[in-house]
Amino acid sequence: MEQPEQKIATQTELPKPAALQEPRPSAAAVSDTPGATVFDSKNVSIYYSSFRAVTDVSLSIYENEITAFIGPSGCGKTTVLRTLNRMNDLIPGARVEGDVHYRGESLYATGVSPISVRRRIGMVFQKPNPFPKSIYDNVAYGPRINGIRNKGKLDEIVEKSLRGAALWDEVKNRLNKSGLGLSGGQAQRLCIARTLAVEPDVVLMDEPCSALDPIATGAIEDLMHEIKSRYTIVIVTHNMQQATRVSDRTAFYSVLRDEKSDTRTGVLVEYGRTEQIFNDPQDERTKAYVTGRMG
């Protein structure tokens, strides 16, 4: 009886299956230790004249992540997004209380120029808004207002930005045609190229795919994944599947009704990693919203 046992003892170890051999790279990326803090909002409330649109929002946005803002209509997610690049300044009567820090510097301190803020923090809007100029001039617009006049340099920037927006191959032979002649998906990619041309640090997107068909939406989502490593992206979306497909972190906003004064205001309900928000939301309101039982 000895020998069979010995045979078993000296048998070499089975090779480890390939699936277990190296650590999966995506697993490391999904860890909960974020990179640098890009935005830090503290107790931000936003008023339009005397109406308090958003109350007491505090959250941090991290570098090279895609953060999604979700929530029902009228909950202030676009308003909060616009505080990140001072676009609310354009609305008469808009006022921000609390503070927003961008990489350590306050965005709302006296003396801060909204122009220089917006050069570093770009924005793509819900409805594509290409300028009534040629495609080339649309993309070159940003660099031109930043002082770049050299034609060769501009050509380079235009090509790079259009490639970055996955639009180059479709328009390279008609750069001098009007930007208004593009389809919805192409126009939105043109707007993204235009935003990327000034090489911002952050790209804010306000429901960028809501006016687009599924194929164009897919192209833009691919684009977001591709450029994530070079930019920080914050996206407002009312499409929850998009939030789950695209974002690393999700913030859920909702409307708070004050029964006594019958006023409504937007509040941040829950903020966390996307898998956690959609798998196991902590707040009942978040759960009601993501499972479609709200309202």
């Binding site: 929850m240 599947q241 798998n279 196991d280 993501v290 499972t291 479609g292 039982r293 309202g295």
Partner: protein, 217 residues
């Protein structure tokens, strides 16, 4: 909640009801199988075999329902966890009931007479323990109680010890060879039932998420 969502909620409740029914069936049939085995009552096996046929139709129906809801409703959060948990425990329940039927099938006049007292005692204890574990698993499912998993694991260890004792008793050669062989199998069946109960406990942890158990009505 919209009409559409209310319909979805009703479907989820229907699935839950079926799952509870399946649990109940295993829970009821298991002690019956144990006592049939020990008293040599081989009619039980016939009854259970009939029941098995009926239940076999239920499993694919339930799976179909779960697949449809996942496909069409794109559920998230607790809905998704529920549907995934159901699709994972249905095979466990199916196999468990199969094991119960197998145990009852071993019941035989000659077998029960021939059991040594120690063997009989161990079998009865194992049968009761497994029945308890199964009841606990069903309760854990119903209440979404994730703490049950730990308890079930401990009791499974207990079951394993009983199984070792049973093996030792059988190895002592006090009973005839056919009886020994049958009881070896029966011991394994009980052990596998214990494993299934533990698996269900683990699925309940996934199902419960981070939420506290819901109180029984």
């Amino acid at each position: 909640m919209t009409e559409h969502r209310q319909e979805f909620q009703r479907q989820l409740e229907a699935i839950e009801a079926r799952v509870i029914e399946l649990f109940a069936m295993v829970g009821a049939d298991l002690p019956g199988a144990t006592s049939a085995l020990l008293t040599g009552n081989n009619e039980m096996a016939g009854l259970l075999a009939e029941r098995e046929k009926g239940i076999s139709a239920l499993y694919p129906e339930l799976e179909e329902l779960v697949n449809k809801e996942i496909l069409l409703q794109a559920p998230v959060a607790s809905d998704l966890r529920f549907l995934l948990a159901v699709s994972r425990i249905v095979p466990e329940i199916e196999l468990s009931h199969n094991l119960v039927v197998q145990i009852a099938a071993r019941a035989d006049h000659y077998l029960s007479e021939d059991l040594s007292p120690r063997c009989r005692g161990l079998t009865e204890t194992m049968g009761n323990l497994v029945a308890d574990m199964w009841r606990a698993a069903a309760d854990a499912w119903y209440q979404r109680d994730s703490s049950a998993a730990g308890m079930l694991s401990e009791r499974n260890d207990e079951l394993d010890e009983l199984q070792s004792s049973l093996t030792a008793e059988l190895a002592s050669g006090r009973m005839t060879l056919p009886v020994t062989m049958e009881m070896t199998l029966v011991g394994r069946f009980y052990q596998r039932l214990g494993d299934h109960a533990v698996n269900i406990g683990r699925r309940v942890v996934f199902l419960a998420g981070s939420h506290p158990p819901r109180q029984p009505d």
